[in-house]
């Protein structure tokens, strides 16, 4: 066995980010992934990210809205262990691709729905995407200074949904292995946003409100776990526990701070009324030298820190090479690319980096042949524009 999901077949009927990314990750762990694309090829092929989300998949080009196309997809769903779909419930139903229809066809199927909003909620059939889900979940309102809204540019809801779908699908595979039953799994983009902001929804009267402080025009964090402006550039210093704070005080020759009753319960026990006092002490020190200097200095003293930099600088971080997290891949459509490696290491059955994204329809014939279609039948489906 090379991958922990060897022998598992995933049928990917999804588009956009969350579903395709989840299926690609399952493929990394050894699953066979068959993706259904529209006959002319997905319009998403104009987005370079498509060639990341769809690596290693068998690409079948097919029109799901024709009766013959539906027949083909039902046969595919019969041989699949997992199906991933991101249509709204009404659309899935009209295509005959809702769970109840497919379960009859394959009772052991694990059916993973990734709609924008949860099924059964008042918006279940509303169109949406990672950004509408994030906006609706409180990730954008009031994030800027003085409560201004701020767009969250990372599609965090989609990413959260992709990872949580992998977790839920794999848990369902475990249940099926133990109890022999399939089931329906749902991880809406809204729930993806919730998973990525879980602590934000904890409420209780006994909790004291603690905000991030605004300094130098931006929200920086709390005084010893925050962004600092240096003479050149910015860096984040993370004294995430009291030991790191003590190390900081010693490193800076400010031992008195560690005993100062305003700060001694650092990091989390510093009262917000004392934030500015500590910031006023630390900021002038850090402003005097470059971010590069301070990251080096703090690292020498075993205090966690990191410089603010761009993605194209970070890719050269030596640990990225050690972890093989950014891999050079020659993509047949795009040419030379750099792409995500394998993020979870199953040391017993290490996953494999999937081959690059195949061209539209590359595997239509082989998959249809496997389903029992003769060459003549495939030719006929092709003539009718079904595949």
């Amino acid at each position: 066995m090379s991958g922990v999901l060897d022998g598992i077949t995933v049928l990917d009927l999804s588009r956009d980010i969350a579903g395709p990314y989840a299926c690609m990750l399952l493929g990394t762990m050894g699953a066979r992934v068959i993706k259904v694309e529209s006959v002319g090829g997905s319009t998403e092929r104009s987005d370079t990210r498509f060639f990341l989300w769809n690596r290693g998949k068998e690409m079948v080009a097919m029109d799901l809205e024709t009766p013959q196309g539906r027949e083909v997809v039902l046969k595919m769903a019969r041989m699949a262990d997992v199906l991933v779909i991101d249509r709204v419930p009404a659309e899935a139903q009209s295509l005959g691709l809702d769970y109840d229809s497919l379960r009859e066809n394959n009772p052991k199927l694990i059916y993973c729905a990734i709609p924008t909003y949860p099924e059964g909620s008042s918006w279940e059939n509303m169109p949406g995407d990672a950004y509408t889900a994030a906006a609706a979940m409180g990730l954008m309102a009031g994030r800027g200074q003085s409560g201004a809204p701020e767009m969250l540019y990372l599609p965090v809801a989609a990413y959260g949904s992709a990872f949580t779908s992998c977790f839920a699908i794999s848990s369902a595979l475990l249940v099926r292995e133990m109890d022999g039953i399939g089931q329906k799994v749902e991880v809406s983009l809204q729930q993806g946003a919730m998973a990525m902001q879980t602590a934000g929804f904890t409420t209780g009267q006994a909790f004291e409100p603690r905000g991030s402080s605004f300094r130098q025009g931006i929200s920086v964090g709390i005084p010893v776990y925050r962004l600092f402006h240096a003479s050149e550039g910015w860096f984040f210093m993370a004294c995430g526990n009291n030991t790191f704070f003590n190390k900081l005080c010693i490193a800076l020759g400010l031992e008195g701070l560690a005993d100062d009753e305003r700060f001694r319960d650092a990091p989390w026990g510093i009262a917000s009324e004392n934030y500015d006092a500590l910031a006023d002490i630390l900021e002038p020190i850090f402003e005097a030298k470059s971010a590069e200097h301070w990251v080096h200095f703090l690292t020498e003293h075993d205090i966690p820190s990191g410089a603010v930099q761009e993605r194209d600088v970070f890719v050269d971080h030596p640990q990225i090479a050690v972890n093989e997290m950014i891999r050079p891949i020659y993509d047949p459509t795009l040419g030379a690319t750099l792409q995500l490696g394998v993020p979870v290491w199953m040391h017993g059955q290490p996953g494999v980096l999937p081959p690059p994204t195949a061209l539209t329809g590359t595997h239509t014939e082989s998959v249809l042949a496997e389903l029992g279609y003769s060459e003549g039948e495939v030719w006929e489906l092709r003539e009718r524009g079904v595949v």
Binding site: V4, D47, T48, P118, P127, Y131, T132, A135, G138, M140, G142, A148, P149, L152, Y153, G160, F163, S170, E177, Q183, V185, E186, Q191, M194, M196, Q197, T198, F201, T202, G204, A206, F207, G217, G221, Y225, L227, W234, F236, N241, D265, P267, W268, G269, P304, A307, Q309, R311, F314, V315, Q319, V322, N323, M325, A336, T337, L340, P343, V344, W345, H347
Partner: protein, 371 residues
């Protein structure tokens, strides 16, 4: 599950497995998890667990842990690399007590290479990886996301890895070592943005801090903000018709040439004249993507209406509410979690289950092995 983890990534990983029904015992050091001080967060990441305090620097403390491992399916830890070995709770040692054990490690940088022992926290990875610069925008100050993207991703990845390892064990009877780290997660949670083609990473277009372009951005209505998105000329047409403003149709950018300013001005003027509820309702009914910009508090109320908020009684904070499982499963629905444990809340209970007598528990307490 024996949960040796603290902070966020490790703690939340076992919290997610508790959502899925795992029985998790959180093992804390004498001082407790360093992130206990973040009350609401700690409650959320450690939901549904029992908690014990164990001094793993003593032989008796390790003996308790070894007994736990014999009964366990999974051990999860996020010590600094090297600490688990020093404490005698690394994979190689623990599999001697349970050959089928699944052992999950979450570190900052991984366990190989020169940075293997370097400590790290989520915001460092946000800073180094470009997430802060990207959120701030070109030429602007960096922006701290205030969502622990690499911690949360690392947690879900670890939970996923454990679920796969359990699946594999069910198929083959073999346990294994599963590993992930914040460095891997911060790239995974920006995987699309780290897609380099022609030597440059993928980057979203943007207008200020309010959106991607005129057709995908926030607008201020009379009583608040909304976000709308038209991905195609068809949707744009539908929107203009909905607004009874066919004159705006011609403004849809053609040949990639976006007339952002004029579109923005026209839409901003139009939308300022009605309420968020009015516009969002109108657009949604027409099939255009639109939502009100909710605050976290408003989103929390919506989650409560959807049954996704769980009310629990915390031993420390009294009645509190937590977000529930982020997945729905028809046959094995997520578990309604309990609160996070107080420090050492279940020490005696767990030790009794392991076969320790009351007097043995007392003597372990006296020796400061447990508290």
């Amino acid at each position: 599950m024996v949960d040796l983890a603290g902070y966020i990534a490790g703690a939340y990983a076992s919290g997610l497995l508790a959502d899925m029904g795992a029985q998790v015992v959180k093992v804390e050091s004498w001082e407790g998890d360093a992130f206990r001080g973040i009350g609401p967060g700690f409650q959320s990441w450690n939901r549904g667990k029992r908690g014990i305090v164990l001094n793993l620097r003593t032989d008796e403390g390790r003996e308790v842990l070894h007994r736990m491992v014999r009964e366990a399916d999974v051990v999860l830890e996020n010590y600094r690399h090297g600490v688990a070995r020093r404490l005698g709770v690394d994979y190689e040692t623990l599999r001697e007590f349970n050959a089928q054990i699944i052992y999950c490690t979450v570190t900052a940088y991984g366990t190989r290479g020169t940075d293997a022992e370097t400590p790290g926290f989520d915001p460092l990875f946000q800073a180094m990886s470009g997430a802060m610069a990207y959120q701030g925008g070109p030429g602007n100050l960096p922006t701290f996301l205030r969502i622990a993207i690499s911690d949360y991703t690392g947690a879900i990845m670890a939970a996923w890895g454990v679920a796969m390892a359990l699946f594999h064990r069910a198929r083959t009877g073999q346990g294994q070592w599963v590993e992930t780290c914040l460095l891997n997660s911060v790239i995974s949670v920006q995987a699309g943005e780290f897609m380099f083609s022609q030597g440059v990473p993928w980057t979203s277009p943007r207008v200020g801090t309010l959106g991607v372009d005129a057709a995908h951005r926030m607008y201020e209505a009379r009583d608040g903000w909304l976000y709308l998105a038209c991905d195609t000329a068809d949707q744009w047409g539908v929107m203009c018709q909905t607004f009874e403003r066919k004159d705006l149709m011609v403004l849809w950018p053609q040949d990639g040439e976006r007339q952002d300013e004029s579109i923005t001005e026209a839409l901003a003027a139009l939308l300022a004249d009605g309420t968020v509820e009015h516009w969002v309702g109108l657009l949604q009914r027409a099939g255009v993507k639109a939502v009100p910009l909710r605050t976290m508090q408003e989103a929390g109320s919506m989650l409560r209406d959807q049954g996704m908020i769980v009310d629990v009684e915390s031993p420390e904070y009294g009645p509190i509410s937590l977000s529930g499982p982020a997945f729905q499963m028809s046959e094995t629905p997520g578990v309604a979690q309990g609160p996070a444990p107080s420090l050492g809340q279940h020490t005696a209970e767990v030790l009794r289950e392991l076969g320790y007598t009351d007097s043995e528990v007392q003597s372990l307490r006296d020796m400061k092995v447990v508290r």
